[in-house]
């Protein structure tokens, strides 16, 4: 049978199958890339604020560095992280290689530059008058930067969505530091790779379709939430 048609059929069979193994894979994909995105947002946002709000020497160079890191091949990063997490590597004593933590940290490292770049750009795009206005209204420096972050919220959300999408769709890091151990560290992408290796092309395509459906669904929910929030704020304070 044509693997693509077979894949579409299998995708729908799996979704409604109730198979705990399959749901486990989906759950791990969502959980690992979700935690990775939260970590990356926490690491990246302060750096993006520093880049976006301040002027300093070498700023262009720093921005260019993070822009370049967005294009990091996932396999190359995975290999570097493998050497870091390996028992013989600097973080070896923690014993994190081939555990979920290795994937979450690795994917967080992968998407941090993406989140930094988009967030910093969004912050820079906020009208500089905003900062002055907040200060004259008596806001502390902390309150001012929070206000600007809120103003840049669309860009911040976009950065985090892009980060999540890259984390859930990447293979190199998950395979090299997670090892694709069935039931523990295998995710949708490592299983696509595994089933391709094993010649079960239909199942591989089914997993690919499911991955896309999940990303589509999550992005849709966030977009609708943004819209709803906008309508609520607009309705509450008609100025």
């Amino acid at each position: 049978m044509n693997p693509i048609i077979d894949g579409i059929q299998k995708a729908f069979q799996l979704i409604f199958s109730g198979d705990p193994t399959f749901y486990g894979v989906v759950y791990r994909s969502l959980f690992f890339s979700g935690v990775a995105t939260i970590l990356a947002a926490l690491w990246g946002t302060p750096i993006a604020m520093l880049i976006g709000l301040r002027e300093f020497r070498g700023k262009t160079l720093v921005k260019n560095f993070f822009n370049t890191m967005i294009g990091m091949p996932t396999v190359a990063l995975g290999l570097i992280l493998y050497l870091v997490f390996s028992r013989a590597g600097p973080l070896g004593p923690l014993g994190l290689l081939y555990t979920p933590a290795a994937i979450m940290l690795g994917e967080a490292v992968l998407v941090t530059p993406l989140i930094i770049s988009i967030t910093a750009n969004a912050i820079e795009a906020v009208d500089p008058e905003m900062m002055n206005l907040a200060r004259t209204l008596g806001a502390s420096e902390s309150q001012t930067s929070i206000a600007i972050l809120k103003e840049a919220m669309n860009g911040v959300i976009l950065g985090n969505i892009a980060g999540f999408n890259r984390a859930i769709a990447e293979l190199g890091v998950a395979l090299l530091v997670g090892g694709g151990i069935l039931g523990t560290t295998d995710v949708l992408t490592t299983d696509i790779s595994l089933y391709t290796q094993r010649g079960d092309l239909g199942l591989a395509i089914a997993f690919g379709i499911i991955l896309l459906l999940i990303v589509f669904g999550i992005n849709l929910i966030i977009m609708l939430a943004k819209k709803a929030r906008f309508l609520l704020t607009f309705g509450r304070s008609p100025q």
């Binding site: 693997p3 935690v35 939260i38 970590l39 926490l42 690491w43 946002t45 302060p46 750096i47 604020m49 520093l50 390996s86 028992r87 013989a88 590597g89 070896g92 923690l94 014993g95 994190l96 290689l97 081939y98 555990t99 979920p100 933590a101 979450m104 940290l105 420096e141 902390s142 930067s145 929070i146 972050l149 090892g179 694709g180 151990i181 069935l182 523990t184 595994l194 391709t196 290796q197 094993r198 010649g199 079960d200 092309l201």
Partner: protein
């Protein structure tokens, strides 16, 4: 405190929670784990899944399987990232033992590589032995240098080691011919390499398991042209990582697992694996065969191909486990 500093503290906290959570989970809540680094042919055929589920059903331990080529599997093990290796490249295994990383080697299974190619067999290798076949493929490749005639793994896998020794036996220097235009290198796993050979209508060397798993569902149409014979023998061995050389390995669990693999139960799982599905053996258990000296000539071939000093594991590397060799 500034806003970015607050977020940074939250970031540090979250990172610590993820790391500590994982360590605590694996140390106190999860079952003990045994990390097996293995070759792709054992994993991609599904044999190790079967072994894992059978073993876990009767033992209180989680088997974690990491699949890679033999070269990487051995490297991971020497770095302390595996407790056991399951590989198929005797020459690399000997180095691993000699460097002190491996102990308690046992030969657990064998089968035969196969030379596969397009069903029309343009190089006319049908009926030849493996070395004669390579000579014909070489001659045909030289005549048709505008096409891809041979596809090679080109990695450090056991299959690639076998290919190297076959070219040497046929009287060629593989490093030299690998740069010729009819010889293509994928640098990828067995399934990918078979797919490339299939697309190009070329010949390649494959383990029988991976070949059948792609051939049966019709993913590839290449035919198995040469199968069996001493030069295509493929022997799988298990070794425990030496705790005296590499720290943090679960040695006792590794020995328990090896004992199970060579027991009748373990050997039956290997021997019977997927026989119903493919109407032929993907793997043959090696332990009883070596003990009884039959079937011949397989046993004498195994002994001359995969024994070191007339034994599967010389005494200095048995690490006080003579019971494995009685």
């Amino acid at each position: 405190m500034k806003a970015w500093q607050k977020i940074l503290i939250a970031a540090a906290l979250a990172t610590v929670i993820v790391i500590a959570g994982t360590i605590v989970y694996f140390d106190y809540f999860a079952r003990r784990r045994l990390r097996i680094s293995t070759t792709t042919s054992l994993y991609d055929t599904g044999l190790l899944d079967e072994i894992k589920s059978t073993y876990e059903a009767t033992h209180n331990i989680d088997i974690h399987i990491i699949s890679a080529g033999t070269g990487i599997a051995l490297q991971q093990a020497s770095a302390g990232d595996a407790d056991i290796v399951l590989v198929h490249a005797p020459s690399q295994e000997l180095t691993f033992l000699e460097n002190g990383y491996g102990v308690c080697r046992k030969i657990i299974a064998y089968n035969y590589f196969t030379i596969v190619g397009p069903s029309a067999d343009p190089a006319r290798i049908t009926g030849e032995n493996a070395t004669e076949a390579l000579k014909k493929i070489f001659a045909y490749g030289r005549e048709h240098s505008d096409q891809t005639i041979w596809v090679s793994r080109g990695d450090n896998s056991g299959t690639f080691s076998k290919e190297t020794s076959l070219w040497t036996a046929a009287g060629y220097n593989q490093t030299e011919i690998s740069s010729e235009s009819w010889y293509a290198t994928t640098g990828a796993g067995m399934a990918n390499t078979l797919n490339v050979a299939n697309q190009k209508g070329a010949y390649t060397l494959s383990d029988i398991g991976t070949y059948l798993s792609l051939y049966k569902p019709g993913t590839i149409q290449l035919k198995s042209i040469i199968a069996g014979g001493k030069s295509l023998l493929n022997v799988y061995s298990v070794m425990a990582v030496n705790p005296a050389k590499v720290s943090n390995v679960s040695f006792n669990d590794a020995i328990d697992f090896i004992k199970w693999l060579v027991s009748d139960t373990g050997q039956q799982v290997i021997d019977n694996y997927a026989v119903a599905e493919y109407s032929q053996h993907l793997f043959y258990g090696a332990v009883q065969a070596l003990k009884n000296g039959s079937p011949q000539p397989d046993v004498s071939w195994i002994q001359s191909y995969a024994y070191f000093n007339d034994t599967e594991c010389p005494a200095q590397w048995r690490d006080d486990h003579p019971e494995l060799y009685s």
